[in-house]
């Protein structure tokens, strides 16, 4: 081992791994993130992959990326621009060159920069020059050939050999950032338990990359990013989909109910169903239904039968569920619907993030059909909002939609694990056996929630369904005045949830020039922008919404404290329109983006600065 120069300390670093969708970049990024988290860095990750599992090799459309941001301080976003780019081929460079910080380090697998690949990526002959990256710290590493050499005496087939070249790149990155290989080696050992030759191959290549980085001249500096100052406790890494699944299980346990989930696979929501299917040990029932309609209707059946029922989907699936969601509204049964949004309309951008389902969630049903709506804002808080959605559904006897999106679903962050004893109680509305004055639509006067009489309970036999109900008995009623009364009650019931949710908090300045307004997954970027502007001495606050319907009770007070309001969202202005409808007395400026990508902090700051100047 040659002697290392003293490493340079950095506050935070953004690394982007990119290659063909078959190059294993998601795994590489995940392994690096896990190591960083285990060493105590705060992290945020952003996987960005094409819709096709094996998109045409070597083309820009087939590039799969994984960005990780790790730091000594709290990290709130996966980062706008990368300090380090790993590009396994010219197409990966092409797709990512515009996301680099000036002077960034670029590690390319020079073996893949053949004339054919260069042309396929849309370059003429010298990608580095054509991208004007000559002044950047470009490391031309023969990753493929060195991987082959490291494994030449192992007798593996060429496919297996090439499959491990991502570990060479990972090894290089570990050396540059002074990371131990141990956690990743442990991963190989548990993952490939029954394939010792694969364990050995991966370890060899990982080490080959590590020592290569140490040996070559170009890398005479290395970096450290010290552990973050974070709250004491036990931590784990968690992504939004797993957190959502766990929040539902936690709510079922708190409520003393079994969890039932009827769902149909759809990107980017599938991970929730997959995680829940694993949790038979906690009694979770999953039904992979024949379609989304069966997903929600099996769940409605399970809710009628007395279980905590949920259905998970993305925008196109939610469209199929609309009629049945109305059935849950009129039968006033508890139900959680999770919408992991993606780019639309139609099949749109299945693997990309967007917030364009808001109007569909709020209004995409026939009739006056109010549902409660909450939105998670970080990967880890998907846990709390899934729990909260279930709590509201059970305590208020209503369907609740939880909105997340592709960015939260696949993104991950370290999470301080809560103890179940810290989670709020959930009191169900189950009608006890022996209640003699039971009527299906008799309500709690405060919340207007009706009682939940469970089939199997003697003496509480009753019929409910999708036809309009008589106000108390629940019998079918075509009475005109009764329909008005019931419509009012259903609306009022959801409105009254406002007494059961926290007020809106403002981050940063409590009054001032510009109030940033956001909802859902944009929190990290908005919060970073607000903090940076705070340091620049600008009077900017952030009001971020997790409760969408009903809105918190103090919105008017908050909005009234700022000169200007800037509503930022990854759609064409749906939340802004919703706010205009609810609070028409304010003027709303908008920042909107529909590129299948999150905001960058820079974009947000620019928009605020324009407002401050204007």
């Amino acid at each position: 081992m040659t002697k290392k120069n003293k490493p340079i300390e950095l506050e935070d670093v953004v690394i982007r791994f990119s290659g063909d969708s078959g190059d294993g970049m998601q795994l590489t990024g995940t392994l690096f993130s896990n190591t960083a988290a285990l060493l105590g860095n705060d992290i945020a990750t952003f996987p960005d992959y094409p819709a096709e599992i094996r998109a045409p090799q070597g083309t820009v459309g087939g590039v799969s990326g994984f960005q990780v941001h790790f730091g000594h301080a709290r990290v709130k976003t996966p980062g706008d621009l990368a300090d380090v780019l790993v590009a396994m081929n010219p197409a990966a460079l092409k797709a990512n060159a515009r996301w680099l910080k000036p002077g960034a380090m670029i590690i390319i697998d020079v073996d893949n920069f053949t004339p054919k690949n260069i042309e396929k990526a849309g370059y003429k002959e010298d990608p580095i020059r054509e991208e004007k990256l000559e002044d950047y710290n470009v490391i031309q590493a023969p990753i493929t050939s060195l991987t082959k050499r490291a494994l030449e005496d192992m007798g593996l087939d060429m496919k297996s050999v090439l499959r491990s070249k991502n570990m060479f790149a990972l090894g290089m990155i570990y050396w540059i950032f002074n990371r131990p290989l141990k956690f990743t080696e442990d991963f190989f050992k548990s993952k490939f338990k029954r394939k010792p030759e694969i364990i050995e191959a991966n370890e060899r290549v990982l080490k080959a990359g590590y020592y290569y980085a140490e040996t070559i001249e170009a890398l005479h500096v290395t970096y450290v990013v010290k552990p973050a100052e974070i709250e004491k406790g036990t931590y784990r890494n968690i992504n939004g989909n797993t957190a959502t699944a766990w929040g539902l299980i936690a709510a079922a346990e708190k409520a003393g109910l079994q969890l039932f989930v009827g769902s149909y696979p759809i990107t980017p929501a599938t991970g929730i169903l997959e995680e829940l299917a694993l949790r038979k040990n906690l009694g979770v029932i999953t039904v992979q239904a024949e379609d989304e309609i069966a997903g929600i209707t099996t769940s409605i059946g399970a809710s009628f039968a007395g279980l905590l029922a949920a259905t998970t989907t993305s925008g196109p699936g939610l469209a199929l569920k609309s009629e049945a969601l109305g059935l849950a509204v009129i039968t006033e049964l508890p139900l959680v619907v999770v919408d992991v949004q993606r780019g639309g309309p139609s099949t749109g951008l299945p693997t990309k993030t967007e917030q364009s389902d808001l109007m569909q969630v709020l209004y995409g049903r026939n009739g006056e059909s109010p549902v409660a709506v909450v939105a998670a804002s970080t990967p880890a808080n998907c846990f709390y909002y899934a729990f909260e959605a279930a709590r509201l559904a059970l305590e208020h006897m209503t369907p609740v939609v939880l909105m997340t999106d592709g960015f939260l679903a696949n993104g991950s962050e370290p999470w301080k694990i809560p103890a179940m004893s810290e989670m709020p109680e959930i009191k169900t509305r189950i009608v006890p056996e022996g209640t003699d004055d039971y009527e299906p639509y008799k309500r709690d006067p405060e919340t207007l929630a009706r009682g939940w009489a469970i089939p199997g309970t003697p003496g509480l036999e009753h019929r409910i369904g999708g036809l309009e109900k008589d106000e108390i008995s629940g019998n079918v009623s075509y009475d005109p005045v009764n329909h008005q009364v019931m419509t009012n009650i259903r609306t009022e019931k959801v409105k009254r949830i406002v007494h059961d949710i926290p007020e809106l908090k403002v981050e940063g300045e409590q009054e001032g020039d510009v109030l940033l307004v956001g909802w859902g997954s944009t929190f990290g970027h908005l919060k970073s922008a607000q903090e940076e502007m705070d340091q620049e001495g600008k009077k900017v606050g952030l009001a971020h919404f997790n409760y969408i319907n009903p809105l918190p009770g103090n919105v008017e007070d908050v909005f009234g404290n700022f000169e200007k309001i800037l509503v930022c969202e990854l759609n064409m202005g749906q939340f802004a329109g919703y706010l205009r409808m609810n609070f028409p007395q304010f003027d709303y400026h908008q920042l909107n983006k529909v590129q299948g990508l999150p905001f960058t902090v820079a974009e947000i700051k620019e928009a605020v600065n324009n407002l401050l100047e204007g």
């Binding site: 906690l282 069966a294 301080k416 103890a419």
Partner: protein, 344 residues
């Protein structure tokens, strides 16, 4: 005959009647079916609170409102899916799915075949009036080719489904056929359907007096019914006819059923096929459900009744098995499992 439940209760059909006024058209076949279901339930020795009657949308799907049991009137086509959720959520319930030919074979066709494929333990009563009743007379997937309805003023040009063929094709283990007006046969079949563990599909040939009156007249009229229906009973030869002189044999050369006259061409009673609903091979059952007047009598009774594991039981058995061997028994265990680290 009424039987005592495990709790010592003896029911009469009246115990299953709700206080709601029955709103089907006078003379509609649905009235008789309601009657048969209430009779069957009173004879099943199941506590009343264990019944859940689930429907979709249609005239027939109003059924749950007229029952004094737990009931759920769903949305169009989704009765089988809602029922699946109810049954999997609580396998102790006796779940009855009420659906029409439009509800289960048009808009809900997908849910029907998948419930049957999974073998969810529900009793699915398919009210087949070969018409859309509730929407006032449009053709359905079982309307006969050429049928004139409001949406086929010149006759339909599409061939119909035969529900039994579809159900057996979807790996169905129980299929029976009955007539709305034959309360005795219907009651017996409903009882067997309830006893069968798995998806029991009962097709009820139901007359809609308003929009498709007489749809089954050719096989039900007093004059001819014995010659045009055959009621299949396990262990009994497939003999029918007013004179009980006709029977079914297998024409082995053409691999199809053939109607023969006992006493002619050397045929005696012992040549006639004997019904066995429990035969796993669906070949003969498929031929029986496909028999159509005038070439054959229409088969009634329990045509297929084969034991097989049910979906709801399999789901719960798997959960039980995983629970036994897992170190994770509660949420706190899961939260702290796997890769975690301490921050001091």
């Amino acid at each position: 005959m009424s039987k005592e439940t495990s709790q010592g209760v003896v029911y009469t059909p009246k115990d299953f009647k709700s206080d709601q006024e029955v709103r089907w058209c006078p003379g509609c076949g649905d009235h008789a079916i309601l009657n048969s279901v209430q009779r069957a339930m009173s004879q099943l020795a199941i506590q009343k609170e264990k019944y859940a009657v689930i429907s979709g949308i249609g005239c027939s799907s109003r059924f749950p409102y007229y029952m004094a049991t737990y009931g759920f009137h769903g949305i169009h086509g989704r009765a089988a899916a809602i029922s699946t959720g109810v049954k999997v959520a609580n396998p102790e319930l006796s779940v009855w799915t009420i659906t029409g030919d439009g509800d289960s074979l048009a808009i809900g066709g997908n849910h029907l075949i998948h419930a049957v494929r999974r073998n969810v333990d529900i009793n699915l009563l398919l009210f087949n009036n070969r018409i859309y009743g509730l929407t006032k007379g449009q053709y359905s997937p079982t309307s006969v080719k050429g049928q004139v309805t409001k949406t086929s003023p010149y006759g339909t040009v599409e061939p119909p489904f035969n529900p039994g063929e579809l159900v057996i094709g979807a790996k169905g283990k129980f299929f029976a056929r009955t007539l709305d007006g034959n309360i005795k046969l219907s009651t017996d079949i409903f009882i067997e359907a309830a006893r069968h563990e798995g998806t029991s599909v009962v097709e009820i040939l139901q007359n809609c007096v308003i929009y498709n009156n007489g749809a089954y007249a050719d096989i039900t009229d007093r004059e001819h019914k014995e010659d045009r229906q055959i009621i299949l009973r396990d262990g009994e030869p497939m003999i029918f006819g007013k004179e009980r002189d006709k029977g079914l044999i297998l024409d082995r050369e053409h691999m199809k059923l053939k109607v023969v006259k006992i006493g002619e061409n050397g045929i005696s009673e012992k040549d006639i096929l004997v019904h066995n609903s429990t035969e796993n091979n669906p070949g003969l059952h498929m031929m029986l459900v496909n028999m159509r007047w005038p070439n054959y009598p229409v088969a009634l009774g329990i045509i297929r009744n084969v034991a097989a594991p049910t979906y709801d039981m399999a789901v719960h058995a798997q959960i039980g098995k995983v629970k036994e061997s897992s170190p994770i028994n509660k949420m706190d265990d899961l939260l702290t499992s796997g890769n975690t680290w301490e921050v001091q």
